[in-house]
């Protein structure tokens, strides 16, 4: 039980940092390496770690599989929705220039938004894949 305790505490301490790092990767992707996909993976990995240590049920308490499933969809919808927004604002599909009065700002905004969408989908898919593989063993 002792090593498990250590693990639990370490995990608890690590969790915020992992998630923070994920967020950093998410939003810093413009300047350094990283982006929505990597962030999503790390984010997901954090939760998977949590699930491994605290058990699947604890994780289910935090994030139910329904929420995750909604996550798949919302991420994709954000991405595709940005495209539609471009369409509605008079540009081509996925044209970010029109999102803001200044094309460069528009681009930046668009990239941030879609990276966020990517992150959401990837993280929720990763976590739920873990759910299903782990949940099946029992």
């Amino acid at each position: 039980m002792n090593d498990l305790l250590v693990l639990r505490i370490v995990t608890k301490i690590l969790m915020p940092f992992i998630l923070l790092f994920a967020l950093y990767v998410q939003f810093h992707g413009d300047y350094g390496p990283g982006g929505g996909f990597q962030a999503g993976v790390i984010f997901g990995a954090g939760f998977i770690l949590y699930g491994l240590v605290y058990g699947l049920d604890a994780l289910r308490g935090v994030l139910s599989s329904d929420v995750l499933r909604a996550g798949f969809a919302i991420g994709l919808l954000i991405f595709a929705g940005v495209g539609v927004a471009g369409l509605l604002l008079g540009g081509n599909y996925l044209d970010y220039n029109v999102l803001s009065s200044d094309p460069v700002k528009g681009q930046h905004l668009g990239i941030l938004l879609i990276e966020f969408g990517v992150g959401v989908t990837v993280a929720s898919v990763m976590i739920s894949i873990f759910y299903y593989f782990a949940g099946r063993g029992r």
Partner: protein
């Protein structure tokens, strides 16, 4: 890397195979760094060495970890592989040499990305700029692929009551 691969081919214990695959991925990731592809390396490390390994281990936990000895004749597969390899080698003969700045791949569209990209998008990481903006549509497709895989896993491994019935029926038929 080649060693890892040979190990994968030879090893019969699937845990070993999976671990070797993880190592293989990590090695690939380091090579990506050497080749200046930091983003890719980051991803490969996270995915290849991380997620894939977890997935494989999960699968092994649910199935079995020993591979049976293959019984069929390997010559046909070897021949297919050899032919494919030969075509590839043949194809590389006219490839631009490694690291050649004059290679066609590095011209045509690249200058636009490198020179205009950061200005037009306000993002200095050209990879991100291209990924999210120039070829944003590819990325949309990529998210759709992940989404599809997620749906697939839900469909396949979800605890559907009817699944059980179905599989039992299949068992009866056999």
């Amino acid at each position: 890397m080649a060693v890892a691969v040979i190990g994968i081919v030879r090893a019969r214990n699937l845990f070993v195979v999976v671990m070797l695959t993880g190592i293989y991925s990590l090695l690939a990731a380091t090579i990506f760094v050497v080749l200046d592809a930091v983003d890719v390396a980051f991803t490969e490390a996270a995915v290849g060495a991380g997620i894939s390994t977890v997935l494989f281990l999960g699968t092994l936990a649910l199935t079995t970890s020993e591979e049976k000895k293959p019984v069929h004749n390997a010559w046909i597969s070897l021949a297919v592989v050899a032919v494919t390899g030969a075509v590839l080698i043949y194809g590389t003969l006219d490839m631009p040499r490694y690291g050649d700045p004059a290679a066609p791949a590095n011209h045509h569209v690249i200058p636009e990305y490198l020179e205009q990209g950061p200005e037009k998008t306000g993002v200095p990481n050209v990879v991100t700029a291209v990924l999210a903006s120039y070829r944003g549509y590819d990325t949309l497709g990529e998210v759709a692929v992940i989404f599809t895989a997620g749906i697939g896993v839900v469909v396949l491994l979800g605890q559907w009551r009817a699944h059980r019935r179905r599989d039992e029926r299949a068992e009866d038929e056999a």
